[in-house]
Symmetry: D2
Subunit: 127 residues, 4 copies
């Protein structure tokens, strides 16, 4: 997240917002932000959102996620929101979104659907 210049903007139970800004070294061949960068931040927002509903001492790991790119990631500042859709003891399903401001209006650039797993004790993905 430091590499991406991202900062936690808001944390409420079941919803987390992360803001990050455009940096030239994160652009891809067409000049806009790489899909992977936006995905990383959306994944983090979803992970923290899942974590916000778990009991203290529990960790969280991404089981899987799916993203759709909705618009070219052109912009100066991006907002990633992760929201818990269904919270279970082991698995949590989240919806994520990345938006930017363009010409005074909010443009959605990425949509995510993700599954997070609570990790109690030893961490192992796909366990």
């Amino acid at each position: 997240m430091t590499t991406l210049g991202a900062a936690l903007e808001r944390v409420s139970p079941g919803e987390v917002v992360i803001a990050f800004t455009h940096r030239d070294e994160l652009t891809q061949q067409h000049g806009f932000l790489h899909a992977g960068v936006m995905t990383s931040v959306a994944d983090s927002a979803c992970g923290y959102a899942a974590l916000s509903l778990m009991e203290p001492g529990v960790g969280v790991l991404s089981v899987e996620f799916k993203v759709n790119m909705l618009a070219p990631a052109v912009g100066e500042r991006f907002i990633a929101t992760g929201r818990v859709v269904r919270s279970g003891r082991t698995l949590t399903v989240c919806a994520g979104e990345v938006t930017t401001e363009r010409d005074g209006r909010t443009v959605a650039v990425l949509l995510m659907q993700a599954t997070m797993m609570a990790v109690r004790g030893k961490a192992e993905v796909a366990d």
Copy 2:
């Protein structure tokens, strides 16, 4: 890709291999590589694989992808492979994978299924 320390390893028609190495600033809270980093490289491998079957002058954009984390991304060196499953004039479906060597054997850490779009002229995602 430069930020991620990644390098194109092999390009053949319909299949691209990218190698990248572990860097401390890309790790997440559990000490292994962030899911987003592995996803970025797998996405690039799939994108280049799709591009390798398109006619000259055409660009490629990620429409969407879905990844499963298969094992903790612990390792020094990772290999991302993107392979075209179905190539069409507008859309190309790819399968991606990230592996690492651990104790002398290959461990799969990420599995991707992605849709890429050929861009002729003006680039617009979800167009």
Copy 3:
């Protein structure tokens, strides 16, 4: 849809609602509705939602979708909603959901994220 006992409940620009009822031959080994049945209806709701924003004479095909099962599909009557998130000339991104009523409250049982393609002339998936 006839096989599934489904009926179009509401069509508005960019949003379509389909209702369907539980039928014994559609249950799986645990006694609740098969994931594929709910997926079929959610896919149809998303497809019609995409179609509702396209010009007359255009067809629609599912490019891909991803679903999360949120709760066991126990219930008598289910509601599938498809909603357009991003509409483009060729591709449309939709969000789908299936809910049921249980003990007087709405329970979400399936969450979908889908990509639909406009078909002008000859229909070809992944074209």
Copy 4:
């Protein structure tokens, strides 16, 4: 599966093959098999593949899956294959595929990536 006219063709540890035939009531508006039908069978093949590697007495539920349609589902007989990519105590990641024979060659019509969950005792999705 009976409604779909499907039959288990082969079961080996970590891989399951289900065959099914075209039936007119399962076609969609363009005259080929509905995406949901193929998805249902691929989901079942993946579920059984996951189950084939679990200890006796354990059940399996679909956590989530993502499918890409690769070609129009025109054909008489379809083969769905589910294969375990990564097997864990709780979660199993599977790859699925549906193919058909057309003009003497095998055509892939659907590609799936799925997460299955072992159910020990009380069944609850997203638990």
